[in-house]
Symmetry: C2
């Protein structure tokens, strides 16, 4: 990682990267670094069960020497309920993302909320770009990961402030398999990511998120470096 | 107010109203009630100096029997700084809104953030509308109070979730004088509103917000019922 550190220590363009600690945004973070940008990583604690993501994100940013902010927005759960990711009374669905039961992992308006905060941060920093890890594998289940959502958000981001901000999703037309492929090309260590929706010590290997991750490794013909339960 | 209480006790359409406790959103709240909607008032505590607004909002909703949520989003000040409304090291500007020194009351991306949260709340409630108090008097100074911003936000709100949400600003083409005129027509008591940007016991009468309020009362030929310092 040393070469990245050198790259963004020189005067370069700032970019806000929404970085959850998961493998998609981990790859996006490194993509921004590879492009010679200075990332300002932004992690949201919205009461997700998988809080281990946040810890992993902190560790990675520390190692890379990347600016990092963790913002506690758990208070929004008072108005935005009904997702198994934040409501402990709802069981996290198991199996493929394609299954209709994955609908209970949809957090109402999540990406508009997170992106609007990231844009506010970008305006404060005088950065003109926000990177986030939407990808085609999420298009079916999450409306706010679709290209049309990104396009419309960019139309708003152009007029909401005196400073025009652009949202960029480098993997919008790629799936998780392609993201991992690009990360492998960059020499990334995916032991430094957390994907599981359940917040236990080890990844469950059963939830939709784990299943999708394991498939991506399998399709790339490599072994996932993290340890799974059982 | 009794007739309003009766109106929304019957089965009627829900609407989320962004209600700060100020005179604009106070009027919007009553507009929604007059239209026969059931308002879900939403107040954001973002560390504004004028926290009295929040107390006033609570009292009004209690009296009206309106559903009310106050959401603490002060943590966002860790990423969104530079406004005199939230940063106590910056002095609140005095005088007309037209003055360039009112620029320091601009909170980066404020309305996109607040509206995205309100939309999330609407989706959770199965309400399909959000009302907010943007008006023409703010167009010059706040980019996120302009018609083009609202138009673009509605384009996003239509695609961000499975449920389409519409944002409505009933006074978008009206100024504060017109809002007050409509409120007087509805028989509203503006003693139950708070406008001053400074958070002292009484309104200062000097800040841009007070000056604009006082002008609105003067132009309507009536006396502001609240008490001012000196």
């Amino acid at each position: 990682m040393k070469q990245y550190n050198r790259k963004y220590s020189i005067m370069s363009k700032k970019v806000v990267v929404i970085y959850s600690g998961g493998m998609d945004s981990y790859t996006v973070l490194h993509k921004a670094i590879e492009e010679g940008l200075t990332p300002y990583a932004l992690t949201f604690d919205y009461g997700q069960r998988h809080v281990k993501e946040v810890q992993v994100a902190e560790q990675v940013c520390k190692e890379l020497g990347v600016h990092h902010k963790v913002i506690d927005i758990t208070s929004i759960n008072q108005i935005i309920g009904g997702s198994s990711l934040t409501d402990s009374s709802i069981e996290v669905a198991q199996g493929d993302y394609e299954e209709s039961n994955m609908l209970n992992t949809v957090v109402p308006n999540r990406n508009m909320i997170l992106l609007s905060l990231a844009i506010g941060y970008a305006v404060s920093l005088k950065a003109d770009q926000v990177y986030y890890g939407a990808h085609s594998g999420d298009h079916d289940i999450y409306p706010d990961c679709r290209p049309v959502f990104l396009e419309k958000m960019n139309d708003v981001a152009a007029v909401a402030n005196y400073e025009k901000t652009e949202i960029h999703a480098p993997y919008l037309q790629t799936d998780k398999i392609g993201i991992l492929k690009d990360g492998i090309r960059m020499g990334l260590d995916y032991a430094k990511t957390w994907t599981c929706y359940n917040g236990r010590e080890q990844a469950c290997g059963q939830c939709g998120s784990c299943v999708e991750r394991l498939q991506a490794f399998e399709k790339n013909g490599i072994t996932d470096p993290i340890t799974y339960e059982a």
